[in-house]
Assembly symmetry: C3
Homo-oligomer: 340 residues x 3
Amino acid sequence: MRVRLADLAALVGGELVGDPDAVVSRIGSLQDADGATVAFLAHARYASQLASTQAACVIVSPAMREPAAARGATIICDDPYLAFARLTQWWARQVRPLPAPGAHATAHVEPGAAVHASAAIGPFALIGAGARVEAGAVIEAHCIVGAYAHVGEGTRLKPRVTLSDGCRIGSRGLVHSGAVIGADGFGFAPSQGRWEKIEQLGAVRIGDDVEIGANTCVDRGALEDTVLEDGVKLDNLVQIGHNVRVGAHSAFAGCVGVAGSAKIGRHCTAGGGAIILGHLELVDHVHITAATVVTRSILKPGQYSGAFPFDDNASWEKNAATLRQLYSLRERVRALEKRP
Amino acid sequence: MRVRLADLAALVGGELVGDPDAVVSRIGSLQDADGATVAFLAHARYASQLASTQAACVIVSPAMREPAAARGATIICDDPYLAFARLTQWWARQVRPLPAPGAHATAHVEPGAAVHASAAIGPFALIGAGARVEAGAVIEAHCIVGAYAHVGEGTRLKPRVTLSDGCRIGSRGLVHSGAVIGADGFGFAPSQGRWEKIEQLGAVRIGDDVEIGANTCVDRGALEDTVLEDGVKLDNLVQIGHNVRVGAHSAFAGCVGVAGSAKIGRHCTAGGGAIILGHLELVDHVHITAATVVTRSILKPGQYSGAFPFDDNASWEKNAATLRQLYSLRERVRALEKRP
Amino acid sequence: MRVRLADLAALVGGELVGDPDAVVSRIGSLQDADGATVAFLAHARYASQLASTQAACVIVSPAMREPAAARGATIICDDPYLAFARLTQWWARQVRPLPAPGAHATAHVEPGAAVHASAAIGPFALIGAGARVEAGAVIEAHCIVGAYAHVGEGTRLKPRVTLSDGCRIGSRGLVHSGAVIGADGFGFAPSQGRWEKIEQLGAVRIGDDVEIGANTCVDRGALEDTVLEDGVKLDNLVQIGHNVRVGAHSAFAGCVGVAGSAKIGRHCTAGGGAIILGHLELVDHVHITAATVVTRSILKPGQYSGAFPFDDNASWEKNAATLRQLYSLRERVRALEKRP
């Protein structure tokens, strides 16, 4: 890869200050950049790195125009982080060509599946009866698209994804290896000390522009469907229980668990390891800090937290032991307050 | 699917009040029901929905007979939730026919494997040497049944399950996609700053009527076996360490982790994200609330909890900061109490 | 398997006290041993089991020579636990023969892949274009070795591992079923309420002697690589975010999550379910207790903890409710202290 700065500036819709014919061959961080690197300054807190970076060209916001231009070639645009994102997308398209359309010789497509001629089906992939795979979709090696499942236009299933029978994902989606869409929700009726299975008769419905991480699970609904709306982003090892609804453009980091029938609003986020209990409602624009356990509904937008503050082990032991007597400590304070 | 109410009542062993020849074509919740839906009232707290539901027929307990019959067709039975569970099972059998017996053309069965003629082996599945697959078992696409592994009668492995060499699952089991039964337990001897592998020479032994969720892991034992007794239910992304024993009819929700050699009793439950440390013992009928960390044995049945109460971020920050001084706060209260 | 005690002693480099021609046929714990078992005494706290064990031979440290020899055949060596580890390795080599070299008839090796003649490629495995698989490597059934990926000498990928395009693992590694090496890191630029994908252009680089557990995920880097140094051990269901670096010989138990760009030192450990937030630094020899949430860098070696102490539900409810007023409780104590 070799790109002229003039072409870079055009790609990101920015203004170039510097030699339009200079060339870069990598994208990098300010810190690790060399003389062939285009880097970017996304946050003011990294401004000090501007002076020392070896980058051939730096993408900055208008506010940083002067110091950036003083050190060398610069592309100025309103949102350098967004420009960086778009640049990586363009870059990936150049260095990672899409697989050729058609089904690999080792793939198995059941009779009655409808695979668009422009879709690619990888080695050992399985497309079930009645499934639909739309134009430009890429089903990579070892994927399973179940019977009557549906993969929208341009959606890509990375190797070894399971999209179970009757489940649907919209357009321009991306699902990573090991993800399981549409396993049974966890539903049982207790009966004389045993668990009687409640068959999960719903499915999973996923909107457009959704990304789902590696080994993440989205369960099918019990009666109605589990739903991920447009633009939802799930990281790896996330668990979405049955009949959950995740609102558009919400994003959950790794190891988040959402229990059954929770309703999450739009534009919500949850940090890594957060747990959201079942049957709760979170309104739009709720942000859950990593490792927080959400035990009741949240009806007001904002940031919510609940991790135990870690400490060196000896301090933690003393504080944790006291915590088990906290209620009685409060009673003692009350008694003290009542003293004359 | 079209079912007469008389047939429904017979299926669930209930008494029908209403037209025996009326027909329903879906199962639904009271809230989402339409005129073709059979719904059920499982908990008294949903009784208010009875008046407004559009359901064609509602399954209720004897206590709700009058208000239910007042609104339309009703099936009365002792445990409506259990009836609902059994109805979903019957329903699923109608709409999801089992795959035909025999091995798919793309499956690979090693010489020396014993697969019953009534078992079904899906596309790209692999059955190892010396493995046994009993009558009516269903091994779906991309599954791996290792050498000398054993799958009991009527047990179903959904697509892409690994049952490792020498591991056994009993009858009527169900294992969901991505589950890994029999990976190595995590065992190392420290040696001069390095980790020396302890080969895991045990296996995994699973009883009858066990369900295991998607991407859940059950490790093989170090010397003896890891054991899941009859009727155990594990949700998705659960981790069961080596030499754990889970007692009969215990159930763990998503993202639960149980460390090595823990012994869990019968009829226990753990909510999502709970962690149970290694070498502990939990007696029968212990219930662990979601996200609780169990750090010592529990020798008395009951409900145990330990999640940090979440709060808006500003409140949490103040309380969490104070928590780090809790022990000294107690000392200050003591000093106050000693004042004359 | 039948082994003479003289041969056992030679294998573990110990001194035999007892009949050199006596034979054992299993390895077991002191407690479960029978007359055909070799067992070991690793910790002084199990010394009481020495008198009652039925083992044919016990491996002990020099300090335990007398009581051990008094009860029967004994092998004395400096580190019995290490001897046990080495013995399990030898045992496993006898009872679990390696697969034969060469590619299985159902495997698919892309043109341009370089697979050493002594490597074994299992059923339905896929080796991408430009990939290298070194001498003695074992790629088991259903594995995917991506384009230009690299598997070092003697490394074993258990069934159904994904090693994505361009990712590398060194020599003598072991990766368990369902692990995903090189899925995209979770990176997005916010733009008008939507998430703009940052393509992850880095890869994953893994050193020698690394073990990775079942269904564990190690994400590829955004620009630079994610790195696991030599001797790292990861248990099951661990999440390693993009651009994380894990120092040599560090070990993480099950369900640990490490967020993006965290730098973990050498010889660190983390207990099950611990969460380490992004962009933090942990120096060498930091030990994180299970279920602890690490929210800031740790610059001093030691043990750090932060789990909420669990309790019976009623006690927990009272203490947790009080915890939400902890800051005001401290203010009340302050007010009391100011009283004359």
